[in-house]
Symmetry: C2
Subunit: 307 residues, 2 copies
Amino acid sequence: MSKLVIVGTVAFDAIETPFGKTDKILGGAATYIGLAASQFNVDGAIVSVVGGDFPKEDIKMLQEKGMDVSGLEIVENGKTFFWSGKYRNDMNTRDTLITDLNVLAEFTPKVPSAYKNSKVVMLGNLHPLVQMSVIEQMDSPELIVLDTMNFWMDSALEDLNKVIAKVDVITINDEEARQLSGEYSLVKAAQKIMEMGPKYVVIKKGEHGALLFGEDEVFFAPALPLEEVFDPTGAGDTFAGGFTGYLAKTEDYSFENMKRAIIHGSALASFCVEKFGPERLLKLSKKEVHQRLQQFKSLTQFEIELK
Amino acid sequence: MSKLVIVGTVAFDAIETPFGKTDKILGGAATYIGLAASQFNVDGAIVSVVGGDFPKEDIKMLQEKGMDVSGLEIVENGKTFFWSGKYRNDMNTRDTLITDLNVLAEFTPKVPSAYKNSKVVMLGNLHPLVQMSVIEQMDSPELIVLDTMNFWMDSALEDLNKVIAKVDVITINDEEARQLSGEYSLVKAAQKIMEMGPKYVVIKKGEHGALLFGEDEVFFAPALPLEEVFDPTGAGDTFAGGFTGYLAKTEDYSFENMKRAIIHGSALASFCVEKFGPERLLKLSKKEVHQRLQQFKSLTQFEIELK
């Protein structure tokens, strides 16, 4: 069991989907990552920033889930990062309505000294310079996982490339992999991205699952076919949290174990989309997770004799 | 080993992709289905129609692959069905440039008497009335597989529904499943379609793989991630041919065996897209197929202990 450092937003989200809408609710990449990682009882620390308007009970909840919050800065006279978005009917595209950076605009991450020796680092989607600062504060991590998005490819590519050169795993979606590599074929895109630094590339395809590429290997995990996707917000972060949480717990970074980590991440993400925000993750029993892993097995496993 | 009846087009195709273009080459649903099914050395019969312009050596080729062609009518003074299409840069969308029905316009299928007792029937994409005529000529088939498309949902839905009520398996793509059922969620779409008749629904998602739904079960087979998709023409038919060919060979219509059939279909389809038209299927060694099945195993199989 390794310690896990998580950097990312802790935020308010207001979400509208074809099924309804919320007021400001708990959100943010680090929130979802932390909640997913907590399923593995890892000793995790959330490095982030919130304003004085952030509910103390949400901080307490993260602590009760086993997350250290000494690296969660509270700017008492500031406001918490706020994002608002609306999903279209297909649930695959969303329009951002509001992005108020607030306290995030001047965020300088501080990794708690007790966590500088963590072996696993999860860099949630943030400005590449913030991600780099976290890398530089770590003693000698064994596995750094990077999540990023097209926004940083458009606005801070040089900084992003420096981060990419330093990480072991990158998780991005298919369109972002194409943009970053200039290759339409995801196989070629992954190869090019691996040349930029990472040993493993995880390409997230939303409802179409996720691909894991290693040097000479590739693995595919489908998304669980669901009757209803209620709210996709946080699914990618939940996936990343399940992935790194499992790897921090097992401390085995082989391709075989990454496959298991991908399946665990996919299983947790499949819960996330069932309710608004992180609601479903907050009340998740071991038994439910176990049953869902069993569903992933039934969904994908087959017997063909090959002599 | 069961006999297999295949009804579908035998045609000329002219294809343009970002990688190049062809003159009129061999095409048609029944051609791809037959070539894929021939991998399993099944005793298959192609029921179709061509014009006097159709090359005798192509008919001979189908025979050499083990296909009975006594149900392949030759209208000497007619012209073979011709389709021409152009793929866009993403290779997922194509525009139809020409559709000359020619001899297909007055096609009345005749199942050879030696094949009326076949246990497996593959109804390739054609007018539902033609598909129904084939069903009515069969003695007592154990498995009828239907392929169809949105064109018939738009133009001949009543006839199509009658066919759907009589088949065991339907294979359609995701958009067609949504159109046919009126449900966006593929899980709900499959449930509704099963209420219309079929015991199993196969939803093809192209580069995103295929889903197999049974009463209480679901299985997912990814498409093999390829460096280059050269020409997608015939991939869906090749999938269907591999699927039914494997089932005709094994005569086991359980969900477990359907899973194997789906994997075999996916493996053969992954070859089809590597070259123009059916070229790649014509020269396919057992060893190559074996290696590709192995790739599907590596791509999807994982070990997670669930107590």
